[in-house]
């Protein structure tokens, strides 16, 4: 039985309508499948990373970080961290906390086997190791688009939407603190947005420790809208903010704070300690330092 013209046109247009309707859906195909990675996979990956951790960490003594020496820098704030090597036992809870806070994606198995994780916090010499937010950052100098830049309050920030993936910054970082999205983690079902505050990164974008930039931003905005009499918006010191890793540390070995604020826990707790930085970063004015022993 043949199809007459009328029938043919009818079925053609029906197919066209169905195709268009499908094309106009808001949810991408991958989300319809609903295969988000489980929390267990993130935990397992951290365990794997811990077992592959580098053993050595070459540290040299450095003076206490002071105000930034870049144009337009704030004289009130310079955020940073100190990692207490005397109390850290290398449990790796900071890595998982960071991954969940910043939606750090998983990596495919072949990358994991070679130790190429996206983790913003590595374990080196059985201590957490992340971007040091150098005051004189070598990565920012080579960024062709200005995606890697410094904030006035001492954060080496990464603007993901500006990043074109030249990877110059990664090549110029002496401690490999930067991680590149070689895989489209969202498409491969390796990314999961645990925290709505932090956007997911696309393929071809460099990322690294942001020093929980979103927490500082939120605190700054909150401060600005709840000023008491006599306070001005410029007086924000970021008091009370903690990074996810500092919050998760069971030994309080990671201390977050403001190097220029006398009331900050960072200044108080580093007062009589000897500060160290990785040898490669010692001349680059790092904001994230290590401490060991008493003076």
């Amino acid at each position: 039985m043949g199809m007459d013209r009328r029938e043919f046109i009818k079925s053609c247009s029906l197919v066209a309508v169905m195709g268009l309707l499908f094309g106009c859906r808001k949810i991408p195909l991958e989300e319809l499948a609903g295969d988000l990675p489980s929390l267990k996979r993130f935990e397992d990956e951290v365990k794997l990373a811990l077992s592959q951790a580098k053993k050595s960490l070459d540290l040299v003594k450095i003076p206490t970080p002071g105000a930034l020496k870049i144009p337009g820098a704030s004289t009130l704030n310079r955020f940073g961290m100190a990692i207490d090597l005397d109390s850290c036992d290398g449990c790796g809870k900071c890595i998982l906390a960071c991954n969940l806070e910043n939606n750090v994606p998983l990596v495919p198995n072949e990358d994991a086997a070679r130790g190429r994780f996206m983790h913003w916090v590595d374990m080196r010499g059985s201590a957490p190791f992340m971007c040091a937010h150098c005051g004189n950052a070598p990565c920012e100098r080579v960024c062709p688009t200005g995606a890697a830049n410094h904030t006035p309050d001492g954060l080496s920030a990464m603007m993901y939407k500006r990043c074109t993936g030249s990877r110059f910054c990664g090549a110029n970082c002496p401690v490999q603190a930067r991680k590149f999205n070689f895989n489209d983690a969202q498409k491969l079902g390796l990314a999961r947005q645990f925290n709505r505050e932090v956007p997911l990164r696309d393929k071809g974008v460099m990322e690294k420790c942001s020093l929980c930039l979103h927490r500082l931003q939120n605190d700054r905005l909150k401060f600005k809208t709840s000023l008491t009499v006599g306070e001005t918006a410029e007086e924000w010191r970021g008091r009370g903010v903690k990074t996810a890793c500092a919050e998760a540390c069971p030994k309080n070995a990671i201390i977050f704070g403001n190097w220029l604020d006398e009331k900050s826990p960072l200044v108080k707790l580093t007062k009589n300690r000897v500060l160290y930085a990785p040898r490669e970063l010692a001349d680059l004015d790092p904001s994230v330092v290590f401490m060991r022993g008493r003076r």
Binding site: R5, I9, C12, S13, A16, V17, L20, L21, G23, C24, R25, K26, G72, G146, N149, T151, P152, L155, A157, M159, Y160, K161, R162, R196, E197, V198, P199, S210, L213, H214, Q217, L221, K224, T225, L227, A233
Partner: protein, 183 residues
């Protein structure tokens, strides 16, 4: 004669296919396309900004409760309407229709999806606290129940943050480093 008829029918066939394709595009757009303007007061309640704003001097924050202090301005709930509308407020005969509509409306008659991408930080309250008036950004369009969301882009943010626009208002130049608004 016969040839002409065949030609005609072929022409008709192509016209029908073109029509089907164009029609299906329109149908798809009508059914699934995103509205160009975010959902406004087109719900069950016939709301008029002009009646509430300038004519009785109600502040925007009376209904958009978050606009002065919080990150989002928020849409009013039915309870916000009923704070005033519990009593018959005018002798306007329209009010009776309004009362019956209000009684039937659900608890949250309006919704507004934020069109801000998740790598951008915008805090409504901070701008209000800095002395920016609602109309500076939203224009007077809201008086006609139209909204100016399509006018906002990074250019307009930056111009004001650099102090290029609203010179007569004397706003302080605001932060222009990337991480002030981006994450």
């Amino acid at each position: 004669m016969r040839r002409e008829k065949e030609k005609k029918s072929r022409l008709f066939k192509w016209a029908a296919i073109c029509f089907a394709v164009v029609f299906s595009f329109f149908l798809a757009d009508f059914l699934m396309g995103e509205p160009r303007v975010p959902e406004r007061a087109v719900g069950s309640i016939p709301f008029d900004h002009a009646l509430h704003g300038d004519s009785i001097g109600l502040d925007c924050a009376a209904c958009h409760t978050g606009s002065r202090a919080s990150a989002n301005a928020f849409m009013p709930s039915k309870a916000d309407c009923m704070d005033c509308h519990r009593l018959p407020l005018t002798e306007n005969p329209g009010i009776e229709t309004l009362d019956s509509v209000l009684a039937k409306a659900d608890d949250r008659p309006w919704s507004h999806k934020r069109h801000l991408p998740d790598h951008v930080v915008f805090h409504h309250g901070v701008h209000a606290a800095a002395g920016v008036a609602c109309a500076d950004c939203h224009g007077r369009g809201y008086m006609q129940n139209r909204y100016g969301a399509e006018l906002f882009n990074m250019q307009s943010c930056l111009k004001c943050h650099r102090g290029e626009t609203f010179k007569e208002k004397g706003f302080k130049p605001a932060a222009t480093y990337c991480a002030a608004c981006h994450r």
